[in-house]
Symmetry: C2
Subunit: 910 residues, 2 copies
Amino acid sequence: MTTGEKWVYMFDEGNKEMRDLLGGKGAGLAEMTRAGLPVPYGFKVTTRACIEYLETGTFPPGLREQILEALRRLEERVGKRFGDPTNPLLVSVRSGARASMPGMMDTVLNLGMNDEVAEGMVRLTNNPRFVYDAYRRFIMMFSDVVMGVHRERFEELFQEKKRELGVTQDVEVDAKSLKELVEEFKALYQREKGEPFPQEPLVQLFRAVEAVFRSWNNPRAVEYRRQNKIPHSWGTAVNVQMMVFGNMGNDSGTGVAFTRNPATGAKELYGEFLQNAQGEDVVAGIRTPMPIARMREVLPEVYEQFVRFAEQLERHYKDVQDLEFTVERGRLYMLQTRSGKRTAVAAFRIATDLVDEGIAEPHEALLTVDPHLFEQLLHPQFDLQEKAKHPLLATGVNASPGAAAGRVVFEADDAVKMAQEWGRVLLVRRQTEPDDIHGMAAAQGILTSIGGATSHAAVVARGMGKPCVAGCGALQIDYEKQQFTVEKDGKLILVRRGDYVSIDGTTGEVFLGDIPTVPSEVMQVVTGRMRPEESEIFQRVSRVLQWADEYRALGVRANADTPRDAMLARRFGAEGVGLCRTEHMFFGEERIPKFQRMILAETREEREAALADLQPFQQQDFEGILEAMDGLPVIIRLLDPPLHEFLPQTEEDIQNLSAKIGIPAERIREKVRALHEVNPMLGHRGCRLGITYPEIYRMQVRAIYEAAAALKKRGLNPVPEVMIPLVGIVQELEVLKEDLTQVAQEVLQREGVDLPIIMGTMIEVPRAALTADEIAQHAAFFSFGTNDLTQTTFGFSRDDAEGKFLDEYITKRILETNPFEVLDRRGVGELVKLGTQRGRQANPNLEVGICGEHGGEPLSVAFCHEADLDYVSCSPPRVPIARLAAAQAQIRQPRQRRRKSPHEAKGGLL
Amino acid sequence: MTTGEKWVYMFDEGNKEMRDLLGGKGAGLAEMTRAGLPVPYGFKVTTRACIEYLETGTFPPGLREQILEALRRLEERVGKRFGDPTNPLLVSVRSGARASMPGMMDTVLNLGMNDEVAEGMVRLTNNPRFVYDAYRRFIMMFSDVVMGVHRERFEELFQEKKRELGVTQDVEVDAKSLKELVEEFKALYQREKGEPFPQEPLVQLFRAVEAVFRSWNNPRAVEYRRQNKIPHSWGTAVNVQMMVFGNMGNDSGTGVAFTRNPATGAKELYGEFLQNAQGEDVVAGIRTPMPIARMREVLPEVYEQFVRFAEQLERHYKDVQDLEFTVERGRLYMLQTRSGKRTAVAAFRIATDLVDEGIAEPHEALLTVDPHLFEQLLHPQFDLQEKAKHPLLATGVNASPGAAAGRVVFEADDAVKMAQEWGRVLLVRRQTEPDDIHGMAAAQGILTSIGGATSHAAVVARGMGKPCVAGCGALQIDYEKQQFTVEKDGKLILVRRGDYVSIDGTTGEVFLGDIPTVPSEVMQVVTGRMRPEESEIFQRVSRVLQWADEYRALGVRANADTPRDAMLARRFGAEGVGLCRTEHMFFGEERIPKFQRMILAETREEREAALADLQPFQQQDFEGILEAMDGLPVIIRLLDPPLHEFLPQTEEDIQNLSAKIGIPAERIREKVRALHEVNPMLGHRGCRLGITYPEIYRMQVRAIYEAAAALKKRGLNPVPEVMIPLVGIVQELEVLKEDLTQVAQEVLQREGVDLPIIMGTMIEVPRAALTADEIAQHAAFFSFGTNDLTQTTFGFSRDDAEGKFLDEYITKRILETNPFEVLDRRGVGELVKLGTQRGRQANPNLEVGICGEHGGEPLSVAFCHEADLDYVSCSPPRVPIARLAAAQAQIRQPRQRRRKSPHEAKGGLL
């Protein structure tokens, strides 16, 4: 903590580069203010102030003074005074983190209101209904957000008032009743908190700032960060801004809009406008607003002005903007601009359009695509023929694309529970709230009856990549009976909890029944069922990935264990196989008994005979994979798992195996006992097996080089590389390499084929990284096995941690993210860097990659780029993600080392 | 490899500082030659040449030429010529490693002999019997050692010859028959090897050098190194030396002697002399030689000369010397001097005597004591009353002290097998051979009928610290019938395999039956059953340890879980408790059900109630330990093992527990299932438990500070320190420390006691060492848990490795030593150093120690000294070992950082 630190910035201080300190919203407000757009003036409290507050539980020294000074400047600029009934300034106090976390943290509007100010405002506006409505809202929000008196308590009073008045709509409640409500609200507050509702605006302000700070750690925000891999350490900024009012009549209103359609990417303003309303009404989805285009009819001049601002901001940021605005008595105010969340289809369309329209250069457009989105493009879609057979129930807003079918549930908790039992569930709600996100995560898709394309359900579903149909008003949902009804063609259709419903988030359609799905367009092209030129989205993705390949410095390979996977990987653009696991090859029906016979062998001769039986199978697999990757390197990892994994464990399975392969059950039982391990993860596996049973690895190496020789003779160019797993001691590698090189040489000599013998190792225990200088002298390549390396570096196994304490660690913010998903830079990352440096120092030709699951995770790919690795390897469908992430890493932080071969995956489609 | 490297040194080149390069024997020969002692001249091939040979399979460039040049210089110096029948030079070719490995590697004597040389020698000596006996021996040794034709094949021919002649003793075979035998031996060689016996001396020489190189890796040498923790990478030197002959008549002979008694330490020449024999006859124990003192009678002048040389060498080396010599026709030749292996009693007596006699300074005397030996002093002895009840069977040479009883076996393999079944076995052999060492290791003690105090059995048993009675000639051993007989008082007593026999290696007595043992003198003093002044050995040990304390820079603490252990540790000189494990405190009969109830609790309230029940027990333990260590720090580790370790696993045990504590079996079963872990070592344990069940640690901390407060009120000075285990993420420590500090403060405030709250952590996963800079900011101390750190750094668990592949790794020399016994400097050691440096950088007051089992192992203690740790902590009986090892480390390699408090263990006896 620096006591002299600047904690508070006015809106015309700072810019979009200061996101980390000012938050996304704050940086955007600064940028818009400096660009001369009409932004209600205000100031921002930094994220660092929030972090200090959360650590110490109190405002850091100087913050209070800086806020008072900023308030003074704000008053001066707007010509109003905080708490002055003759010319009152009201403000909003909003969170604003570095990354957008829609609806997760707290906001207080209309702050600065009190009895005197209200009276003064009535005199000024001559609109007591507006004033007491604002005061009522303020008391409710302040009490709820700042003081922990639940807003439902206030809503109840409001409902009661409406019942008394015999009305149903908020707008039907008159000024007098609202004024009474204000008194009732204040009384409720006093009962609950034992003090009168605070009338002093400065008290309101400081308490609200603290509340926003604290809301960073509310459970739903923590859960959201966990799901979205946002570090808990960032903290939120607080924006204090002059209030403008969209609820001052029909020449007022509030809206949100994207500069392009975030679902489809189409170049059109996409959003909603609500006349005579405050912003919260739109975001919360309580009233269904009009499409933004209709604003042209009701407020034509304001609309034209807004269109200009939207275009200006998109050009400025070179990306789709998600805008919030308010119209106060015919005057447009811009309240927020930020990069818009979008679907995968939209992201690739927008990126290519931005370039084609001359708004962005390819390297700028590349940065607008979240690499994770690519996965969405592989999601299945409804089979059109099947879809035609199912009755259309209703149509809502196509809020998040994709097809989803499941059994209907109505509560988030129920979704989580029944997803376990039923497999697929569909969450149906009138509208969703931040508390529902765990249920949304558990569901296949979300269907709501209220709210539009920017409602909570829509925004969160798009963020999760889940299909969502929103605002489907035809649904009459009855939570109590756990059912909904739809009136269709004069008939009432009843859907109960547990019934199947299918939704198409791309079209907004809702169907009765469980419609089967087919692969997505991209998958159909990649698997050859559709031609590239038939798919527009495929072509757009392909363009973006080609740009990515031009930029990226990091190679991208795939983990593939079968010829089919290898082929697929190549079509996804893999530049080789970074990890081919050989153990899965032993599990085929014909193979497993042979492998079991090998394990149960009592002499080396018996074992060798069983292995000889297996060799043709392995060889055939290797031929297929090497052929699929012709001309590109294929790293084949020798047997890794402990042998007991291949034997039956229950008495029944032992008896069955005995009957099948004719070995006495007692011998099998004996072997199972002998092979039992206390900690299989830390047991007799990897190269340890290779050393105690040299004949296994010898067979595998024989199969690899026989396969390569056969291909070579057919005129192909196989590039096999042998990877010895789990080396932690240089002598392990030395001993095995010497033996296996000889085996390989024998094969090549016998076959009369010339091929370089390339052997390397996986670095997956800390000692291997620490002694990389020794190991690299005997290795052509290192491949970091970051799954195991994470387990041994932390000293916890994934199996045991994920079920038991890892979730709690993340919730309690002991860990920022799950280290099995996002590579732990500080610990595991240091070993990766250290192993790479020491290895290359001892062997400058050493090729270094990573083949853990992290290889397809964008943050981890960025780390691998920084750590100067040669390549990452990941599952085939993640290859495009890694290509994108690698390009973004190079654009953001260019490095010297470039991947050896430019993208030359001749069979590559994407 | 340096091609210009000097591979060969003449005997007057090099000195005792060059042991690493020249081997122990070679350095000794150089030293004796330079001191003017009569050493047969020769030269040495370096250990580096051996390493090069073993790596490449061929002589390094230049070695052959350097050997030829050295041979030329040898011929010049002694005036004889290699292969010249008119003036032949014969040489011995012997191994000589850095550390003594008695009998483990190969030797060839009489090399340079061939048909022509033999005839020439007959002409020169006029002693054909001697010449052909020498030729015969040479063919046998060369064939056996160099060419792999087993010596038994030759022995059979010799036995047959003796049968033909009707004689039993070797010396009865005449010259003519010996000459015939030479021809028969050569014929056997030709049959076996398909080539004539090599007549060319240079061929013999080069082949012999290679054979000695190779013998470094023979199985028994590898096994010996494994047991004695000698690195496999050292290699052996080769000594080529002019032959002198002890078998040229009764004015000739050969002997071995220690300058002091290696069993008792008494200041007396101790050894044997064999007239008219070659050296191998003594070491192999085939003929029983005369005690060295009797040499004074047969060769008085030579004896006096030898006594002078012995004294000279002891003063020169400031340590007991183990000497080999030969007398050739009345002329004394010194063949070897080396530091003598000795028993623990001897070691401490000698060290103190050397100082008292003015031969060595304390720091020099300290270096003569192998710290491991201390353990021998704790070995039990026979209960004298019980001993009196058992019949004395026979008496042999008291070759290695201590009491041992067990069931008789006659074969090394049988010893290994039956030790598993019977527990204690006693290995009875006519004599032992290098192939027997695994059986000696498995046995409680060794009893032989042939050979004396320097026989193989005696030397190896002393090295192992095992009791041995050697050369007990009364035993008539029948291997076939697996029995021995002793004639006593006219009766024949029969002892069969499986019968109990007891031996006292201190007295040489052999008894029938199984005599119970009592604690050793040192243990009796330490446990208060004998006064220090009653025990001479105790006083000597005490003096040596006091010297050690003056020198050492490293603190020594003990691992103690009970007040009894803490008291014992303090008496052994511990300066505090470095690790008090709290989990064992839950296993008492009254306690375990309470702890189980805690685990089975369904609510936090239930759990807290069960914990409250346990607190008084913990508190009582802590009071006892803190009281025993009054004034010294006691590091208490909070609960570490996973909870399932405390629950029954079998259905039967579950039923029993259910009946006992009245919780339904199903609930227990459910919990056992829920707590099951795939890899318990990497599971929900250590601070991970502390975080998910905060109430457990809270109870423990409450108990610690309640205990400390109670002692404080009694006027004592408790110094508890709380250790949070298994931290790998700084936030784990932060969160727990904050919570537990508050708990401790509450206790201290309530009790009105002022005590510093000291909290630290164990560093036992790699990530903790890597992020030590972060962790140290929240820790008062680090304690390296090198057991777990070894497991996670290597990625193998001790349980799974030791049974499965670790032995093979050591045999195949993938690992030099078992990393769970000797700390792995290269990997684990680097993490220890790195963690220490980073930790101290962030927190200069950080105290750093080690509490794994390595803390009591001398090589590891030396590492901890070098790594600049503050202290080591080990089991109480190993405290003196650590004190000695720490002093030796400081003497050998002084460092700046000294332990904080000088040895102030007020209750310390030793």
